[in-house]
Amino acid sequence: MSSDNLLSSLLAGDTDPAANGGFTDHPPRMGFFTDTSVCIGCKACEVACKEWNHVPEDGLNFTGMSYDNTIGLGADTWRHVAFIEQRKPIAGQIAGVQHADVGSPAVDAAGSDLRWLMASDVCKHCTHAACLDVCPTGSLFRTEFGTVVVQEDICNGCGYCIPACPYGVIDQREDDGRAWKCTLCYDRLEVGLEPACAKACPTDSIQFGPLDELRERAAQRVEKLHEAGVTDARLYGHDPNDGVGGDGAFFLLLDEPEVYGLPPDPVVTTRDLPSMWKHVGVAALTMAVGVVAAFAGGRRS
């Protein structure tokens, strides 16, 4: 493998992140499959996460955004349930016909045209994680499970990871200065437990397991929903060939990703870094030559 190929495999495309991180003998890559078609918006995941991880309270606000007063992911919100009210019937569904066999979201049999989307968002634990790439201290690291975790005893609060994340996940805790985000319950994984949010989810909307298995299960679920007429169902973050090399935490959505506040086609910013360094090099040289030429050009007046 030439150095160029090695570099590009580290910065983009399908790859084994734990192996790239230096783990030779590691467990399978673990992740989340969040099936939003069965989310009931109970926020048990949000609560379980806060409790288990000792995530502090970050303001009790009333937003008027349906049932969402959490607003979005940040330093003190590692699971966020989005609520979206739409004047749109569930695609292909006929009033009075039950789809109990696929467990699709309930609609009013009398023919309501309101659909209420709920989705629990979380850190994507990207295959190519920009937050990890740009962290100058090595505080952010890749675990043996292929997940991305902040070592809080090292983070110096430089804040670089925050605008690097294409999903708006990681953020700075105000009274503390360090960056915080979902650890995929690294402490629980190490002793064979599933993450707190998945454990608390009453409908199995949040499913935890080896990523390979989850991707298979998700593909079957989408197929089943399509057969049942829910043609809006689509997977998000499942594709290892997308701009971040696939997410460790991916989703089944019932509308465009941006409707849920997710970027429709995220790309890890460091994919372009080799080109950025080249441009910096040429610019630096241009300046050096220009300033030196300013001396060569004229006589001493």
């Binding site: 937003t63 008027g64 349906s66 607003i71 979005g72 992911l73 940040g74 979206i84 009210e85 749109k88 790439d133 740009v134 962290c135 100058p136 201290t137 090595g138 505080s139 090292i154 983070c155 110096n156 609060g157 430089c158 804040g159 670089y160 925050i162 605008p163 690097a164 708006g168 990681i170 953020d171 700075q172 200065g177 509308d255 465009e256 941006e258 409707v259 506040g261 970027p263 429709p264 086609d265 910013t269 460091t270 372009d272 870094l273 950025m276 441009h279 910096v280 040429v282 610019a283 630096a284 040289l285 300046m287 220009g290 300033v291 030429a293 300013a294 001396f295 050009g297 001493r300 007046s301």
Partner: protein, 345 residues
């Protein structure tokens, strides 16, 4: 608290506009756009629709503070270019320009580094910057470069002011001049290596904008602090920097599509960039016409160039903040890219 009542005749006193219709299907436009329109601005072009989650940003905006970080972009650029200017001035027998540039380089990089440490969430842990070396992190590479450059710039300045340690001073001058161009330019990669759309998509031109702005500032400092008869190269370096920055900025705003180009020519950031360009042009033209005749003109031109360079960095910083906080900047280019790709099969 609900303001509506349920009566036999239906709902009374319902507040309008509370139906949270989100998404392409609902045909809802973005909240930020809607409020912009309420501000009285009307577009003749039908606005492209895009969806967002209640108009909330997709990204988390940088937590960097402008005086620290935009200030460092300016001071680091000034310092890096001044080190090159100072070394050349030493080599060509211009002691006044050399001393001014070397002292200026050391003072500005010191102030810049104070800003960097101050901006950390945990300033006491600044030394963790040298815990690892990561080529994938421009901030890590920059920290190591600063660790070499800072002491060199300090030694060069010390030697130039006191006239002692001439050999070490010359070595330090050379080292600082070797690192200077990188110190002036890596900050562009640092800034563009983020998901902030108006920064990231500008990564090809931004290093040239930054080094142009750096040369302008260092030239301005040379005019300000060095004797007129030694400041010729400073004037030419400033003119070169101004031309480079202007050309790179034109190419940048010309290449970016809206909405990503908007912060560079609209709003407060756009206005500041225009003022910056005017100051830089005034300083460059003034110095070339009058700089060698009048001390006052050299000082005024030098100040204008320094101010223009600083304002340019603050404006570009502000442009990124606007871009990060606007969901349209994140969603629209990505959605258009997806649509293009699916149209191409």
């Amino acid at each position: 608290m609900s303001t509506s009542d349920v009566t036999k005749d239906g709902l009374q006193g319902v507040r309008p506009g509370r139906d949270a219709m989100i998404g392409v299907a609902a045909g809802r436009e973005n909240g930020a756009r809607a409020s912009r329109r309420r501000g009285g601005e009307r577009s003749m072009v039908p606005e492209a629709k895009f969806s967002s989650y209640y108009g909330k940003p997709v990204l988390n905006a940088p937590v960097w503070k402008a005086p620290d970080i935009a200030g460092y972009f300016f001071l680091g650029g000034l310092s890096g270019a001044a080190s090159v200017l100072g070394a050349c001035a030493s080599a060509t027998g211009r002691p006044g320009l050399a001393k001014a540039s070397k002292v200026g380089a050391f003072v500005s990089i010191s102030l810049g580094m104070v800003g960097l440490v101050h901006d950390l969430g945990k300033p006491s842990r600044f030394v963790n910057m040298l815990r690892v070396f990561k080529p994938t992190s421009p901030m890590s590479v920059g920290s190591w470069a600063l660790a070499a450059y800072g002491p060199a710039a300090g030694t060069a300045a010390f030697s130039a002011v006191t006239g002692r340690m001439k050999g070490l001073g010359a070595l330090a001058t050379g080292t600082a001049a070797a690192f200077g161009p990188f110190i002036a330019s890596y900050t562009a990669a640092l800034m563009c290596d983020t998901a902030v759309p108006s920064w990231h998509e500008a990564y090809r031109e931004m290093p040239f904008v930054f080094v142009g702005s750096a040369a302008t500032a260092a030239g301005g400092l040379g005019m300000l602090a060095a004797p007129i008869d030694e400041a010729g190269p400073a004037r030419r370096a400033a003119a070169f920097g101004a031309a480079l920055e202007f050309a790179a900025a034109q190419s940048l705003t010309g290449r970016l599509d809206e909405p990503l180009s908007d912060p560079y020519h609209k709003g407060t950031s756009g206005q500041r960039l225009k003022i910056s360009e005017a100051l830089t042009a005034f300083g460059a033209v003034g110095s070339m016409l009058l700089g060698r005749r009048s001390r006052a003109a050299a000082v005024v031109s030098g100040l204008a160039l320094l101010a223009g360079s600083a304002l340019s960095r603050f404006a570009i910083f502000e442009a990124g903040m606007l871009s990060a906080n606007d969901p349209e900047h994140t969603v629209r280019p990505q959605r258009e890219r997806l649509n293009r790709n699916s149209a191409n099969g």
